[in-house]
Amino acid sequence: MNGASVVEAEGLGLTFETADGPVHALSDVNLAISKGEFVSFIGPSGCGKTTFLRVIADLEQPTAGTITVNGHSPEQARKDRSYGYVFQAAALYPWRTIERNVGLPLEIMGYSKADQKKRIARTLEMVNLSGFEQKFPWQLSGGMQQRASIARALAFDADLLLMDEPFGALDEIVRDHLNEQLLELWAKTNKTICFVTHSIPEAVYLSTKIVVMSPRPGRVTDIIESTLPKERPLDIRETPEFLEIAARVREGLRAGHSYDE
Amino acid sequence: QDLYPVTFQLKWVNQGQFAGYLVAKDMGYYEDAGLDVTINPGGPDIAPEQVIAGGGADVITTWMAAGLAARERGVPLVNIAQPFATTALEMVCSEESGVESTADFPGKTLGVWFFGNEYPFYAWMAQLGLSTDGGDDGVEVLRQAFSADPLLQNQADCISVMRYNEYKQVLDAGIPEDSLTLFNFADEGVGMLEDGLYVMEDRLEDPEFVEAMAAFVEASMAGWEYAAANPEEAAEIVINNDMSGALTLESQVYQVNEAAALVGDTPALDVEAYDQTVATLLSAVSPDNPAITEEPEGAYTTVVTDAIE
């Protein structure tokens, strides 16, 4: 096992027991993610992307194989509060202001009031939401809510960021904009990011590594190391290199896709 | 000096029917007798026999039939005094009903109070040989609620009334007295002693308690005497004790007068009247109405009234 490896899965499998029989959400997943990587997970609906992230986060228990996070068990990692999780929906608490939503993990983890204040200000700044501290979630647009939820995951400075389709509900232009900002943040902080998406361009644009998955049972069908430079302007998406990687991802996806859904 | 505490449970709400006790308390007769008396008013569906069985009272007033029935059910009540020597329960029939004598009862609807007040009625019907399941040769029984309304609204042909209360309401409603037919339960031979004082048997082994009860009965009789002499003042006291604010002075003066007239010269139980009550009850035993099934033993005592000079 590599010392710098943040996530390491070997022969990982997860089967849900349901009333209609077992559902194989993950099977024989082998994957190593090193520190500072930006890994995208892409694959059709139901292929186990969310499940894999949830296993890392100790929100589901694998039924086969092993997985370590920061060299420990996921449970230990969770108790160490070593990751921040961004859900597909912003999942802000509607009765808390933006400020207090971002402060929620800090309250729970027992940061001092002063420290809380400082961190809230810093992370809201980071996601461009300064000035909205006292607003309630419903007073913000969908994009701003999603940024607040990212701020919440950043507030306690975990080195690992798990993001489950954080921009799925946003329109393309806003999404482009947030993608740029996310890349910037990643470059600045050297965090490790696991990012689930449905969008091929998004995956290619953001990642250093793209994990293509296929359903029934959820398997990893391809792992693509990106050859794109770390510096990525938005129009990199029209370059042949980009299109080539995108084509490979699409290929991988199509291979694993069953048209009967 | 220390007053002896006594909790006294009435069978019904505070009204002229209980004027003697309320007067005795108000005028300080109980205190003078060394007693600290708390009078708890009753109400519909409060069974004083249950209250005393649960330890919620030291002494209660109830009708003798209910008292004897409770004794047979395992609540050892003992009559210690019988302030009401005569009875006031009557049945009144409207002109429209066409009832003029008991022979007219078959096929009629009669209002009856339950909750331990039904025993005289069932005894009467047994005596008349009338079934109480409705039908042409029996009578239909209606559980009469609080008021005289069933008669006023023609829902019943006859209703139960207390002479001191509901009967007055019927008259007050504007029904001429001569249009009504009145049956007195006592005259019909099914009279049963009404408001008497009852305590739990085991308490009587305590001489101090007996002494206190003697003082209580004596002071109560003094209250009744005062009420009989000063009905207006007694009614005033009753009204001051009425928390519902619904009583009128006029009705209570009438009620005090009528109730005081029921009180005998002595609080001692008239054994003859007791025997008659028991005999009437035993004559009417039926599965539907099992007041008592056998001759009661030790259901009254004279130790208290004997202690009064």
Partner: protein, 290 residues
């Protein structure tokens, strides 16, 4: 200290333990799972009765205050043919069922009738809420005055009690249809009645059943209490009151047991019908589908 009390405590602890154990069994067998689901509350109920029996006997509570369940049970069995069955007929089969049907039925019709008038809806609902705040004990004597002392007046009380919950819920249910679903009907140029029958009514069923369930217990309580204000000498409310007066407390509890059983069954039947009619509702089919 006392054998009865110790037994009661022991049974209580044992029942608790068994239940904690049972709910921890994760079984995939549907039959076993539903057996557990039934066993747990039954064990709880049995424990409750045993504790009651033990405490009443152990503490020597007078029978005229609270009889032990075994005595109540005997009284219940002995009295089914005579007072209990006729009482049940009078109170449940006549007052409750008829009042319930009229109350819920007329409220439904009124709800549909005022559905087209926002004016009436805005006006009737607050007034309706006010009227349903009238305490039933005040209404009952009035109904006896109006409708006589037989079951008709009890049914009338039940009608009054059940009317407004049904009205409010039905109106809310008819308004529950989403904008898209309604627009869809508009794109078909569907008539008012078509929209009502094919869209808004099905959407309203969960609300309507909500009211039907609430009303099932309300109706029984209403009918029984109304009998305290004048009745023929039959009926569960009459019996309860008359029996208290005669200190036949075991009879009182036998009637209460019958009332609770009938009420629970009534509720259960409505709940079963609800499951059948609103089989599609997420709360019935349970979370995500296949």
């Amino acid at each position: 200290m006392n054998g009865w009390i110790i037994t009661a405590l022991a049974v209580w602890l044992a029942g608790w333990g068994i239940n904690e154990f049972l709910v921890r069994i994760g079984t995939r067998d549907r039959v076993a799972a539903s057996a557990i689901n039934i066993a747990v509350p039954v064990i709880f109920g049995v424990v409750l009765l045993v504790v009651w029996e033990g405490l009443v006997r152990g503490l020597n509570v007078p029978a005229v205050l609270l009889p032990p369940p075994s005595v109540i049970w005997e009284r219940l069995l002995a009295s089914i043919p005579n007072p209990i069955w006729p009482d049940f007929q009078q109170t449940f089969l006549k007052s409750v069922l008829i009042g319930y049907a009229i109350g819920c039925g007329s409220a439904f019709i009124v709800a549909v009738a005022i559905d087209r008038s926002p004016f009436l809806k805005r006006g009737l609902l607050p007034v309706g809420n006010f009227v349903s705040a009238l305490p039933l004990v005040g209404i009952a004597p009035i109904m006896v005055m109006w409708f006589g002392f037989d079951w008709q007046s009890k049914a009338a009380v039940v009608v009054v009690m059940t009317f407004f919950p049904m009205l409010v819920n039905t109106v809310a249910g008819l308004n529950a249809t989403g904008a898209i679903e309604k627009d869809l009907m508009a794109t078909y140029a569907a008539s008012y009645w078509q929209t009502l029958a094919k869209l808004r009514l099905p959407m309203a069923w969960p609300f309507i059943f909500n009211a039907l369930k609430i009303n099932s217990t309300l109706a029984l309580i209403g009918a029984i209490v109304a009998e305290f204000f004048g009745t023929p000498v039959v009926g569960m409310g009459f019996r309860i009151s008359a029996a208290i007066g005669r200190l036949q407390v075991d009879m009182v509890w036998a009637e209460i047991a019958v009332a609770a059983l009938a009420g629970s069954l009534f509720y259960g039947v409505i709940a079963l019908i609800e499951r059948a009619v609103t089989f599609w509702h997420p709360s019935v089919r349970g979370g995500r589908g296949g």
